[in-house]
């Protein structure tokens, strides 16, 4: 059978939920032909009713089959982790490094990895019904801490993800929020290994690379002990090649999503795509297939000149992930389009060198984490992104409570203004932004007016 996506558009929750019932079986394979329907799409289900993900009701979604698959893949991760545990795989919970340690876990036969930090979004997705922020408050992590505090609560109430067999915690040049949260987790009854990634003054030198490679070697040995097998260099090299394929796909998708007008993919789905770089949503191979599907969908749309947003939308680089996903919808509804992002894990998107010992390659890549270097360098990444995708403005979405957000906005604003002379708008979006949606809308409208005004005078 052949499948044709409807013309590109954004749809509301009802239409999106109904679309699950239309998922074809057999399933169209990218590049033609068909294959088995992915298991996570096999049983139509409502994530709102079954999982309590009630925020989905307020969102608008891309109407392609690829996007439906992407969402399903994302939202069904707990099923995969539970199945992994049932089948005897070891679960590694990796904290803060964003993109490096999971590769070591995937290289090990018999382990899967996920980021408990991802609980960041649970209060939003479940519209606070799960009470995680209340639990975090009671544990002393109030709203002076970034939304990642939900992860501490999820460990305390043990209701949101399987408790890992091993936690691997990256400290060093890390936000204070995670550093403190990880210290709390170390008090729990879960084995935890600390490793360190240092602050770098500029590009990491050989000493830093050697130090981090040594730290990652400890991680490798700990994961090997967990699964009862040595994780060899060959295993690591193999996983690096596989991860690089995913990273290449991500770059292809980013170029399409952020570089093509009209935008062929909405901001929300583009953000999910980028997040898959971190740990592949617990299934590296299927992650590749999901992204391939997205990429071919966007290529078809770009070739046909189809988009989900108006061609004259204001092109903006977005800095930092946003705690309430609805903010991304609002941004587009009011006339914005993403023209680049900097979500704090750029190092998970760049190719990992394949021509050197794998631990050194992983160390070098981990040291490109924008969190480990000067804020000025991160600001330069924002500028580069704006140039690459011809952005007309930058939105810095400060993460409420985050130690880096306290001062970073200022540095980014100065750099962008100095290098590009385009406007910068700083906002703060709480985990559930309903109460501030009017204020946020006013900020977006005002910002887009400035951008349009500059177009007229250009």
């Amino acid at each position: 059978m052949s499948w044709a996506d409807p013309p590109a558009a954004k749809i509301d929750f009802e239409a999106w939920n109904a679309a699950f019932r239309l998922v074809p079986d057999p399933f169209p394979a990218p590049g033609g032909g068909t294959g088995p329907r992915p298991e996570y799409l096999a049983t139509p289900r409502c994530f709102v009713e079954l999982e309590g993900d009630s925020r989905l009701r307020s969102l608008r979604f891309d109407n392609s089959l690829a996007a439906l698959r992407l969402w399903s893949f994302l939202l069904s991760e707990n099923d995969r982790l539970a199945a992994a545990r049932r089948s005897g795989l070891k679960i590694v919970g990796t904290l803060k490094d964003l993109g490096t340690v999971p590769l070591i876990a995937y290289a090990a036969p018999g382990a899967v990895a996920f980021y408990p930090d991802g609980a960041w979004w649970i209060p939003c997705v479940m519209e606070m019904s799960e009470g995680l922020l209340r639990i975090a408050d009671a544990a002393g992590f109030g709203d002076e801490v970034c939304p990642v505090r939900a992860a501490l609560a999820a460990f305390l109430n043990r209701a949101h993800f399987p408790i890992p067999d091993l936690l691997i915690a990256a400290v060093g040049a890390c936000c204070d929020d995670m550093s403190c949260l990880m210290q709390r987790l170390a008090d729990l009854d879960v084995p935890l290994l600390w490793w360190e990634i240092p602050y770098r003054r500029g590009t990491a030198g050989p000493e830093a690379v050697a130090f981090v490679a040594g730290q990652l070697d400890r991680v490798r040995r700990a994961v090997g002990d967990l699964v009862g097998r040595t994780v060899t260099d060959d295993m690591l090299s193999d996983v690096i090649v596989r991860a690089n394929r995913i990273r290449a796909l991500l770059r292809r998708i980013r170029d399409l999503a952020y570089g093509v007008t009209p935008a062929p993919f909405p901001a929300l789905e583009a953000q999910i795509v980028e997040m898959l770089a971190l740990h592949f949503c617990s299934d590296l191979e299927e992650c590749g297939r999901v992204l391939e599907h997205v990429a071919s969908t966007l290529e078809a749309r770009a070739a046909a000149g189809e988009g989900v947003l108006a061609a004259d939308a204001c092109r903006v680089v977005w800095v930092n992930p946003v705690a309430d996903l609805r903010a991304m919808n609002l941004f587009e509804d009011l006339g914005g389009a993403l023209a680049g992002t900097e979500y704090l894990f750029r190092h998970a998107l760049v190719p990992i060198p394949e021509d050197r010992p794998p631990l050194a390659a992983l160390a070098e890549t981990a040291l490109r984490d924008p969190m480990t270097g000067p804020a000025e360098e991160r600001a330069a990444l924002v500028v580069a992104e704006a140039v690459r995708y011809k952005a007309e403005g930058v939105i810095v979405s400060a993460v409420p409570g985050a130690s880096h957000s306290a001062t970073e906005g200022l540095v980014i604003r100065r750099r962008v203004t100095r290098d590009l002379d385009i406007p910068v708008c700083e906002i703060t979006v709480p985990p559930l932004a309903d109460a501030s949606i009017g204020q946020l809308a006013t900020r977006f409208e005002g910002f887009f007016e400035i951008i349009r005004g500059r177009r007229e005078h250009a």
């Binding site: 544990a139 002393g140 992590f141 002076e144 801490v145 915690a169 400290v171 060093g172 040049a173 890390c174 936000c175 204070d176 929020d177 550093s179 403190c180 990880m182 210290q183 709390r184 170390a186 008090d187 600390w194 490793w195 360190e196 240092p198 602050y199 770098r200 003054r201 000493e207 130090f211 040594g214 730290q215 000067p374 804020a375 000025e376 400060a398 409570g401 130690s403 880096h404 957000s405 306290a406 001062t407 970073e408 906005g409 200022l410 540095v411």
Partner: protein, 351 residues
């Protein structure tokens, strides 16, 4: 009756070398022995801890920055080039901002968070980098024998400070620690040669002897420590980095070891800050200090915007095994009725 040393306090909070090439060390992680040996001025930067300095610093950083960093950035001395360590996230970002403000990039070393032998070696490499950068600034080579001498002198100064501790109030001792951090080694030695403190308090403090921990103290906080003492909560032990912990160590530099490496190792091994991971070693130090000094309560004070200290009290209470008063304060809060009421209620509960 508590006696004070106003002269000591005035000198400790007073101006340090103002020559334009004088450095400011933003953190006790920086081995100032290197500056001593090179003949460079590198007084510790004193965030005044005043509302005005915090507001000035906020304009240069952001509303969410910690009060300590804001006050440092807003101090009169912020225009000097800074030397510091990437301790917490806030501090390393403040160091970057300080470089912008002064027009001269701060020299920043990584302060390791883990306590492994590899982390220690890494710190040694970082200190070597710092020494090279300071040599460049001084236009001179670091002479190993000069460095050895500087290490011995600072060791001697710290040892004398420790001996004075028992006879001084918490505030006076903090002032003495500040003075050590502000003065070049020679001037500090000269000061100590004539320093004869009248016993400021009875050997056994009246009230409930307390361990102070949390964010560093600023000179503006000294009157608050006096007030604690007057209310019946004398600070007999101070685990902040502006109290006992700052001087409770000696650098061992055996003749057969390169003094720069030994210096870095000495600083790495000193009683650590709570930002290390895991931070058990900090608590082991603080608990032993509390025991040694007979502390029966803990005052844990965190400055607004500081996660590193503000998120610790539940653990601190458990690990130190003493009743704990957690205070979240901003610059200027020391004199606030809110804080006074909290202290009174805490003392009430202890009686």
């Amino acid at each position: 009756m508590i006696s004070r040393h106003p002269d000591l306090r005035a000198r400790a909070a007073g101006p340090a070398a103002r020559a334009p090439d004088a450095w400011r060390a933003a953190c006790s992680h920086v081995p100032r022995e290197i500056a001593d040996a090179l003949g460079l001025a590198a007084a510790r930067l004193v965030p005044p801890g005043t509302v005005a300095s915090e507001s000035r610093g906020e304009a240069l950083s952001g509303a969410g920055a910690c009060a300590w960093c804001k006050s440092g950035l807003g101090s009169d001395e912020a225009d000097h080039p800074w030397i510091g360590a990437a301790t917490c996230d806030q501090m390393r970002r403040a160091l970057e901002l300080a470089g912008r403000a002064s027009g001269r990039e701060a020299l920043v070393v990584h302060a390791p968070k883990t306590r492994s032998a590899e982390a220690e070696d890494y710190f040694v490499a970082e200190v070597r980098w710092l020494a090279a950068a300071m040599e460049k600034a001084a236009g001179a080579r670091l002479d190993p024998s000069e460095l050895r001498r500087a290490i011995a002198v600072r060791n001697g100064i710290r040892a004398r400070l420790r001996r004075f501790r028992e006879g001084l109030t918490g505030a006076d001792f903090s002032a003495l620690v500040y003075l050590e951090a502000r003065l070049p080694a020679g001037e500090m030695e000269a000061f100590l040669a004539s320093f004869r403190p009248a016993p400021s308090r009875p050997t056994r403090a009246a009230g409930v002897p307390a361990l102070l921990a949390g964010s560093p103290l600023a000179p503006a906080d000294w009157p608050w420590l006096d007030e604690l003492e007057e209310m019946g909560l004398p600070v007999v032990a101070d685990a902040t980095c502006t109290g006992d912990r700052a001087v409770d160590f000696a650098v061992e530099a055996p003749a057969d070891e390169d003094p720069l490496g030994a210096l870095a190792r000495g600083y790495f091994r000193r009683p650590p800050c709570p930002f290390i991971r895991p931070n058990d070693e900090f608590y082991a130090y603080a608990a032993a200090l509390a025991r040694r000094r007979g502390a029966r309560a803990v005052v844990w004070r965190s400055l607004r915007g500081c996660d590193i200290h503000a998120l610790e009290p539940p653990r601190a209470e458990r690990l130190l095994g003493l009743p704990l008063l957690a205070l979240d304060m901003s610059c200027g809060d020391a004199a606030s009725p809110r804080v006074r009421t909290r202290v009174e209620a805490f003392l009430e509960g202890l009686r």
